[in-house]
């Protein structure tokens, strides 16, 4: 289709992007449209304010963290490539696709999905979820329902559960271990990105 191709052509490095993310052309186009819609001023990149304009995201208790995940440290903008790569975390794992040898780990692999979740907690990027970091997330999610003390005890116990080396923090390895039995592929995938 002519229009499809012309849209695709406008995106730089589209081949590489598709290769890396595993998205089909249709997905790329849909995401590109969305990207343009979010980028109201047409700068070619998105700012945190653009995300903030999404009404539903504002209701999300950990919305600001999720927005933050789009921006690599020190950067104030996100371009289309990064945007797509972040969303590619949530592409369902396709079993049919033959595994190529030597190919890099796909973005939507289990550990990458987990890493995305992990960095939402780990705001200071020290590779560990500290008690305070956990507490912040819990506070955001449980909100008014529980008292601060209860929150603290939940946080303590959560750390206790996962903390294998007893340093009162959850490392990524411990994080992964604690979620070993949970089907991340199903929980961290969005259907329409298939």
């Amino acid at each position: 289709m002519g229009s499809t191709n012309s849209t695709l052509l406008k995106i730089p490095n589209v081949e590489v992007l598709m290769q890396e993310t595993g998205f089909s052309p249709a997905h790329i186009i849909r995401l590109h449209d969305r990207f343009k819609a979010l980028d109201k001023e047409g700068r070619g990149h998105l700012c945190p304010q653009d995300f903030g304009a999404i009404k539903e995201l504002a209701m999300n208790p950990i919305g600001d963290r999720i927005i933050g995940a789009f921006f690599s440290p020190g950067k104030e903008t996100v371009d289309f490539d990064t945007f797509v790569k972040i969303l590619a975390h949530f592409r369902p794992v396709d079993k049919d696709r033959p595994k190529e040898l030597n190919s890099p780990e796909p973005i939507n692999s289990r550990s990458n999905k987990l890493r995305f979740a992990f960095q939402l907690y780990d705001q200071d990027k020290d590779g560990k979820i500290s008690r305070d970091e956990l507490l912040q997330v819990l506070r955001a999610m449980l909100g008014m329902q529980v008292t601060e003390e209860q929150l603290e005890s939940v946080a303590d116990r959560t750390i206790q559960e996962a903390d294998l080396d007893r340093d009162d923090a959850i490392s990524f390895e411990e994080f992964r271990k604690s979620l070993e039995k949970i089907n991340i592929d199903n929980l961290m995938s969005i259907r329409f990105l298939r």
Binding site: F90, M141, S178
Partner: protein, 845 residues
């Protein structure tokens, strides 16, 4: 329970066909109930009653006819249940042949006995009894125990299979049979196309019992489980609707059927199905609203659900809507709200009563499916007809399943894989619904009724026994994905929530309304309006699943702590320094015990499983294995009680009235478990407090200033009627200070143990748990030592295991600013202690 009584009486209709041979039947059922195969008929005195004129005052008279019907019913129930017992005796047997198959075979034997005596089958399953008295509770139980979240997230697939799949099965089997009949494959029969379609419709009912039993045994993955379970449940309803539509067509007669009638038929199909479902939802709302206030009559609370559920069935039947769908949706929808509204005990009661009724009638159905076969009258053999029927139902079922799954897989996030599809197709066992429908065919309209009935029976036997036997090997051979058992962890719960938030956020960013969008908006709507309407206020306030998980884990730890300690002899394991420090998790539970107390409102978390039933449940949110779960949790409950009862406070039991007619809350059980738990926990906590500096310089513990120098080990449990979760109202006391000081003198002082604290194990206080001079624990020996722990009388009047009270166990707080409550808790001990004194005199033996 009123309903049970009613149920038993109504069941009377089940078996009795003629009164003339009742005596013989009675004799046989009682004989066979001990499962001997004796065929002697030794009833000579059965009809020895003569109620006419009497010449002298009889001392006893034989009144068989007065009790005949209920007596027979009860005997048959007993017989069937004993059959189940026999079937379960040898596990190696049931692991090969599914229980339902075994029951049918036993039915053959029983039927043979009756036949041998009566020369006719006097007992068989009549459709009326089946549909009104046996089926409803099975459906209610299945729907009430349905894993809700799983069900609704797969509702689309389930509906496609249940509605389209059933129609496909009915249509294709009917048409194919008709085609073969026209092709002269089964001789000369008096059946037209419409009758064949009717026949196809009744054969499309898939019976869940046998498949589910196998699935539970091998723990297939939950998607496969819910698809088959949900499908077979809804499919029964759809089948009945379809059957009625075709039945109407048959009565209308071929020539009168035109386009208009067909459209009417289709419309009525949808009206009946959706009308029935809607009625079920209405009843679910009614039930939920009713349970908001039933706490006043807690003892019959559970009965309301059963009666109203049954009424939803009957009402739908009265309005000629789909009764099965009605009761299904009633159970599924009200589940969450009534679990939150009702008392924990009522929830458990309801679950067990439903299980008893459902399992009971399931057993009866299968036995009677066997019994009904032993009857010459119904058998019209037509090899072609029978073989073709079996061939078609298997083939078309598998074709239908594959086609629909292919369709569904186009959009599913996780496709249903091939092995699952095969198992789904093969799992299409036919059961009692098919038989019930076949038996209710009208012989005037369907001249070949007996052929159809007989064939249906053969189909049932073929599928239940043969397919049932081969099901398990097939599942194992195909290596069907098993369910992953994950333990309940806070990390899991919390991250699930995080993942949900992430997914919704991503959907928002992508600008699509995906599944999570719907989920979230439904949740929002539910929280805001539905819960407001259907839930009690206090049940509504706290239901966060993360917190529920936390609470459950704590309870579990605490319970384990006590059990373990007692099994090792007076909590010996904490005497060991190394153990104590390693076992930090357990101590943590202690530290949280106070918070735990504040959480009595969270007993009903989002999973809607009462805490006691999930204590040891390895599958947190969904239990695939319903029966096993119940058995296990029941066992856990029992074992815990057993342990506690056994070791402690034995003698006190005799001291109070064990029975009260209307209020089991106050009299059912003395709070031995509760109190022992409290006592041990408290003493340990006290010792923790005193010794925290010496042994465990855990940062949280050391932060707190040393508060009190004197601790009393046995605080009186909190007033049962105080339920304020956070408030300090709990800590108002009616103590007289004089006796307080006096009492304190009798008490083992904390500092007597102080020297030990730093050295051996501070956490253990010998005088608390087992005073050294006494070999027996104080509560078992009769001593004048009033300082030993003795329960107050008030303690006996409370529910065991009410988590509210656990708060009192652990005055420890984590944060620094909570020391107030900490102090209060200690104060409470001091102040309340005197009150116990009079109590000690009475309650000891």
């Amino acid at each position: 329970m009123a309903f049970l009584q009613q149920f038993a009486l109504l069941l009377a209709l089940l078996i009795v066909l003629s009164s003339s041979c009742a005596g013989v039947g009675l004799n046989y059922s009682s004989k066979s109930s001990v499962t001997t195969n004796t065929t002697t008929s030794t009833n000579d005195s059965t009809d020895g009653h003569a109620a006419s004129t009497i010449t002298t005052l009889p001392i006893v008279i034989w009144k068989w006819h007065h009790v005949e019907t209920p007596y027979l019913v009860a005997l048959w129930i007993l017989t069937c249940w004993l059959c189940k017992l026999v079937a379960q005796l040898n596990h190696s047997f049931t692991s090969v042949i599914p229980e339902s198959g075994l029951l049918i075979m036993m039915g053959f034997i029983l039927g043979g006995i009756v036949w041998g005596a009566d020369k006719a089958q006097t007992f068989k399953l009549i459709p009326v009894n089946f549909f009104y008295y046996l089926l409803p509770q099975i459906v209610l139980d299945a729907s009430y125990c349905m894993p809700n979240k799983l069900f609704f997230s797969n509702l689309g697939a389930i509906l496609v299979h249940a509605v389209i799949g059933t129609c496909w099965n009915a249509g294709t089997v009917g048409v194919a049979m008709w085609g073969c009949y026209e092709g002269d494959a089964m001789g000369n029969l008096n059946i037209g196309l419409l009758q064949f379609l009717l026949y196809g419709a009744l054969l499309s009912a898939v019976d869940p019992v046998a498949v589910i039993a196998v699935f539970e045994e091998v723990h297939v993955n939950e998607v496969l489980y819910i698809l088959v379970f949900g499908e077979s449940l809804l499919n029964d309803g759809v089948t009945v609707v379809l059957y009625n539509v075709f039945d109407a067509f048959v009565s209308l007669g071929g020539p009168k059927i035109n386009a208009e009638e067909i459209i009417k038929g289709i419309v009525s199909f949808f009206v009946v199905s959706f009308g029935g479902s809607f009625l079920g939802v209405v009843f679910a709302i009614l039930i939920s609203m009713l349970t908001r206030i039933t706490y006043k009559v807690q003892i019959i609370e559970a009965g309301f659900i059963i009666v109203l559920g049954y009424l939803s069935y009957l009402t739908a039947e009265m309005l000629s809507l789909s009764a099965i769908l009605s009761i299904t949706f009633c159970g599924v929808c009200c589940q969450k709200y009534i679990t939150a509204n009702m008392d924990e005990k009522s929830v458990l009661t309801l679950r067990y009563v439903l299980k008893v009724m459902a399992n009971g009638s399931e057993t009866m159905i299968f036995v009677f499916l066997g019994v009904s076969a032993i009857d010459v009258d119904i058998w019209v053999w037509n090899t072609g007809f029978i073989l073709l029927t079996i061939l078609f139902i298997v083939v078309f079922r598998i074709m239908g399943v594959f086609f629909l799954n292919w369709l569904l897989n186009q959009t599913r996030l996780i496709p249903i894989d091939l092995t699952d599809q095969l198992v789904m197709g093969y799992g299409g066992l036919r059961g009692a619904v098919a038989y019930g429908l076949a038996a209710s065919l009208d012989e005037k309209k369907i001249p070949e009724k007996n052929l159809m009935l007989g064939t249906t029976l053969i189909v049932v036997y073929f599928t239940v026994i043969l397919q049932g036997i081969t099901m398990k090997p097939l599942v194992q051979w195909l290596k069907v994905k098993k369910a992953t058992h994950s333990d309940l962890t806070l990390n899991g719960k919390m991250n699930n929530r995080v993942f949900e938030h992430i997914l919704t956020a991503m959907e928002d960013i992508c600008g699509r309304m995906g599944d999570n969008w719907w989920t979230r908006h439904w949740k929002y709507f539910e929280d805001k309006y539905i819960c407001w309407l259907l839930m009690k206020k206090d049940a509504r306030e706290q239901q966060d699943p993360i917190f529920g998980a936390f609470h459950k884990l704590n309870l579990e730890d605490a319970k384990q702590y006590v059990t373990e300690g007692e099994s090792k002899g007076a909590l010996a394991f904490i005497r060991n320094y190394d153990n104590a420090s390693i076992d930090f998790k357990k101590k943590l539970a202690l530290e949280y015990a106070d918070i735990m107390g504040d959480m009595s409102e969270y007993d009903f978390d989002i999973d809607n499983v009462p805490v006691t039933s999930v204590m040891k449940n390895p599958i947190p949110s969904v239990s695939l294995d319903i029966h096993e779960l119940d058995r296990r949790s029941m066992h856990d409950d029992l074992s815990a009680h057993h342990v506690l009862d056994h070791h402690l406070y034995k003698s006190r039991r005799d001291n109070h009235a064990a029975y009260s007619r209307s209020n089991y809350k106050t009299s059912e059980n003395p709070d031995e478990t509760q109190e022992i738990f409290q006592r041990t926990m408290r003493s340990r906590l006290d010792s923790f407090k005193s010794a925290k500096m010496g042994v465990h310089p855990s940062k949280k513990l050391s932060k707190r200033p040393k508060k009190d120098s004197t601790y009393k080990p046995n605080g009186k449990p909190a007033d049962p009627h105080r339920t304020h979760p956070f408030g300090d109202e709990d800590f108002e006391f009616t103590a007289d200070s004089t006796s307080s000081s006096e009492f304190a003198g009798h008490f083992p002082m904390r500092n007597t143990n102080a020297p030990d604290a730093g050295v051996d194990n501070p956490a253990f206080i010998p005088e608390m748990d087992m005073p050294p001079p006494m070999l027996n624990p104080p509560w078992q020996t009769e001593t004048a030592n009033n300082t030993a722990v003795a329960p107050s009388q008030r303690a006996q009047g409370r529910l065991p295991w009410t988590p509210t009270n656990l708060r009192r166990l652990a005055p420890l707080r984590l944060s620094a600013r909570s020391t107030d409550t900490f102090a209060m808790a200690d104060a409470s001990v001091d102040d309340e202690a005197p009150e116990e004194k009079p109590g000690t005199n009475h309650t000891r033996l």
